[in-house]
Symmetry: C2
Subunit: 407 residues, 2 copies
């Protein structure tokens, strides 16, 4: 408990100082939080030790995960299901192109620089480049007040579809590697199962949510006591996040779906009797928990990895593949009014999903060697950092380059 | 992560349903949360399993601990240091009587029912009855809008002093037992050290806080970005809680001190530019995290312990000793306007502090036997539950019996 309390005090203070500097430099606050995290996490380099444990503390990590769930819930609340259906076809097309191109490029980088590692490792490297980490983009869009634009909906919708595609690729690859390693044939049925689960969850959650949410709020409005509106909304958010993670999807997919399903009209019984609107109630909760996620993400960056040559070459090429690959998304942004560059840039960050994939690769073995070697892992970490740090200023530039439709 | 998300959804839903029923029965919402927790934690008795892990999940527990820190911070914010100094002498007298009487009664119960366990075990049993768990009382006072009454200040001030006394008794007893067990003499200097640390911390935190808080808020008001007011307040709260736990005090002592030190006037620069007041910002954070603490506390109750005769007799006598012992506090409530019965009742709950003591007793051995045996531990748990469940309705009755001064 002392570690957690001290960690919370230090991380919150660092977040606000970093946010202040970033805001003064006309950058989104999240960039300042990430950089503050990088500095905090590498204080050991200048002899200040004692903070290393914070970056990997499981409780702080869980609090940060709750924070990113609250963030995606808040972002989801800004759109309705009707808004999403309008951009649905575009989002699927954007996501498809944004998975194929980085996967192919990542495979090619692997084949070029790691010829000894074999096609499975190359394919795995490609897989780590597929899934967009929507947390960063969501924060930047919110910081700049653009969370409800059509571009934002396409990016966030595509990131959800992306996540599903990424999980399918991961499941197929892991299955193939395990089968190749053990000599047993892969169960193709399990691939179908993953796809089916994801589709059923998303469509089911949204369909059931649209019917159930108004009734649930109607029932909840009869409960006596304080804080019922916030608690009811959080229960729906956590329940959907839980179900998403139970069937193997990222929990944030569920949180975003929960936000989409809830609409102002559902909790009118509460606001009519004088309670503050849901967005206003969620804001302090987010202000406490969301910065934890971004500072911790920065703290996990090991600056010494940048000094290793064999890592840097691979990292540089992977990063280029990651950034260029996602620009294929722009081709899918059909509809004359959409700003294609914003969509391509918004899809860049890889964040925690890429790291999760890389971690799984570290644990899979083929012919006695891990599919993802230690140096490859460091290169993936650098790719994740750079795509994460590059997105906020790029997206801000792109959004202010021209007035975004509806923004 | 799935466990935590599911747990959060279930616990929040149970808290609000329980709170609703309690409010309808004209009881404080916290009683409903505790009972909802007891029911959730014992669903195994009617064949519904799968929730056992939640009560002991370390992440949920940490979130609940953060919740109780936020609660004590909120309660502390309702009073100023000047208010506390007015009741200071009374609080110390109340605490002293409220430690001596239960300690003696607990020792006597031990000597009566557990003659074979020896004086150290009896003294230890007395020690588990000393420290008031201020969380329950603080919640009830808040639920009923009485957090700023002189009675509330005496109770909360006495509970802080209590905590210090309890820790000293625990330290002395543990030292004596370790010395008796190992044949080494006890370091009496360490007792003095514990007392000195506690006094220095409390006086130091308050003195430094009074000087530093206005400057800190002045500096923070120059920071750009959202949520700076809430973050600054939380940084002060977590930092003081951290320091308290670093020197071996309960973290909530630091949170309460932080709340005492902060005053509305400190964050006027924020409210003047249109930000909402701190209390309003903290409320949603508390509404999310505080119920976790009370539901989890209820979930840790094992109803089957109530069915064991040898446990029940000891538990009943211990509970009576705990309740009657704290009524000695009323004698210390000098000053004609104070409602003595309210103060005596407000000091009843033992909660987590008693459990922490009992846990330490389980781990200490004397002549090869634990100082606190398994059945004694169950009896202590029952005592904690009953004092916790009994306080909300008793306090509510007492507060509404006559109009409390200043309430």
């Amino acid at each position: 408990m002392p570690t957690i309390l001290g960690g919370l005090a230090i991380i919150l203070a660092a977040a606000k100082l970093g946010g202040d500097l970033a805001t003064r430099a006309r950058q989104p606050a999240v960039l300042g939080e990430l950089v503050a995290g990088v500095l905090l996490g590498n204080l050991g380099l200048i002899g200040i030790t004692g903070l290393q444990g914070l970056a990997t503390n499981p409780t702080l990590d869980a609090l940060a995960q709750v924070g990113v769930i609250i963030l995606l819930f808040e972002v989801g609340l800004e759109s309705t299901v009707r808004d999403m259906l309008k951009v649905g076809a575009t989002a699927v097309l954007v996501a498809t192109l944004g998975v194929i191109a980085p996967f192919a490029l990542g495979w090619w980088v692997g084949a070029l620089l790691l010829p000894g590692d074999g096609p499975y490792a190359h394919a795995f490297l490609g897989a780590t480049l597929t899934a967009t980490s929507v947390g960063i983009t969501a924060r930047v869009l919110r910081d700049l007040g653009k969370g409800a634009t059509p571009e934002a909906r396409v990016i966030l919708g595509a990131a959800v579809v992306d996540d599903v595609f990424g999980l399918v690729i991961l499941a197929v690859l892991s299955g193939l590697i395990t089968a190749a390693n053990g000599g047993t044939p892969m169960a193709y049925g399990s691939v179908g199962l993953i796809v089916a689960k994801a589709v059923v969850f998303l469509c089911g959650a949204i369909a059931v949510g649209l019917v159930a949410a108004p009734r649930l709020f109607g029932l909840a409005s009869r409960l006596q006591g304080r804080g019922v509106l916030l608690a009811t909304a959080l229960v729906i958010c956590f329940a959907l996040s839980w179900m998403a993670s139970l069937i193997g999807l990222a929990a944030i997919v569920g949180a975003y779906a929960a936000g989409l399903v809830l609409e102002d009209v559902h909790y009118r019984p509460f606001t009519e009797r004088g309670e503050r609107p849901l967005g206003e109630l969620l804001q302090p909760v987010g202000a406490f928990l969301v910065p934890l996620f971004f500072v911790l993400m920065g703290m996990r960056v090991d600056l010494t990895a940048f000094a290793r040559k064999e890592v840097l070459g691979l990292a540089a090429l992977l990063t280029v593949a990651a950034i260029l690959g996602k620009q294929a998304c722009a081709l899918g942004a059909i509809g004359g009014k959409l700003d294609r560059l914003t969509i391509g840039l918004g899809m860049i960050p890889r964040g925690e999903v890429g790291l999760i994939f890389a971690n799984i690769g570290l644990g899979l073995t083929l012919a006695g060697r891990p599919v993802i070697a230690g140096t490859t892992y460091s290169a993936i970490v650098i790719m994740v950092i750079v795509t994460t740090l590059v997105t906020p200023p790029a997206l801000r530039w792109s959004l202010e380059r021209r007035p975004v439709s509806g923004g």
